[in-house]
Symmetry: C2
Amino acid sequence: MSKMWTLKVVGLGAVAVSLSVELLVRLFSHLRAKRTINKVLFFPSEVACVEHLFSTLSTHSCLCPLPHGVETSFSRLLHHLLSASSSLNLCVFSFSEMNLSRALLLLHSRGITIRVLTDKDYSDINGSQIGALRKAGICVRCDRTSVHMHHKFAVVDERLLITGSLNWTQTAVQRNKENILITEEPDLVQPFVKEFQRLWLNNDPAQKQKQ
Amino acid sequence: MSKMWTLKVVGLGAVAVSLSVELLVRLFSHLRAKRTINKVLFFPSEVACVEHLFSTLSTHSCLCPLPHGVETSFSRLLHHLLSASSSLNLCVFSFSEMNLSRALLLLHSRGITIRVLTDKDYSDINGSQIGALRKAGICVRCDRTSVHMHHKFAVVDERLLITGSLNWTQTAVQRNKENILITEEPDLVQPFVKEFQRLWLNNDPAQKQKQ
């Protein structure tokens, strides 16, 4: 009889262990899936104060007349850009929005490696931020072909993709109907990591002089 | 002794069943994850014949001078659009590319419900396909606000999102540097399904006349 009990205990124990393993595996996959960022932002964005994203001030210490403590599509975009801890690769057709430029300058001052690829036709128009980025020492390259370098994407830490219809201009952010998609899905991020590298090398001025 | 054997068999059977369930669950999740479309297309696309996508002809029966049997970014885009079996919602700033227009006309002739939302500034420029779509009976609405309706996305069967920097023009497809992202990830698709519905209702001419 004691042998029979041993067998019962061993059998049920084995079932319990394998069920627990399954539950743990499922819980882990669930938590992992939850952690993968996959979100969409639509524009025009409400206009609100974003000072707290650039300093250690609380949302209510700023005295500007804009609404405070409001989360908007634009503040979410800035938040994701400012999450960079090692690199930011940006490929954007036109770039004139002041706070996006400020975000890049802040990341640069923190030692984040920034590379900006833009279209020649829009790099020196009125209000373009490209000159300010260059002056601060950020590495910028211009696509000088006769066609448009029409991308509008950024890759943060080779891990997070930010892409969509939105050019980095105030009109796009505050007036147009636009979208931005933010994802960590490797099947979507990795092709952009590679394409950035390809375009960056293709637009190396040193290489072009040699050709 | 026979009871002990019964217990052994029951115990091991239970372990076997629970392990098999775990394996099946894992296999199923794996296959499901593999089936979820998540891909990126870059442009400019190579130019190749796409006639076989519009008819039952084989790739080599067409006699046009373009390369045949070549899969390109553009043919992949057409393939995904033509996979629609119930609906296609399109929100695009400018639309002048002939084969994309042909794809919509073919889907319309198959009874697929198509809704097109576009920007008023680009709906009647030279080469725009919007007039041809309207003439064929496809439902088109124009954003008539003073700002740009700058989106370039399509949702196929409320399941597959096609979005990126690419306007539906020949220059964008064949010359510019552009991207398109194709995904079935519900966290990315559903916000676009809702945004399309919101924009569609906001641009209902009947509602506007009432206002």
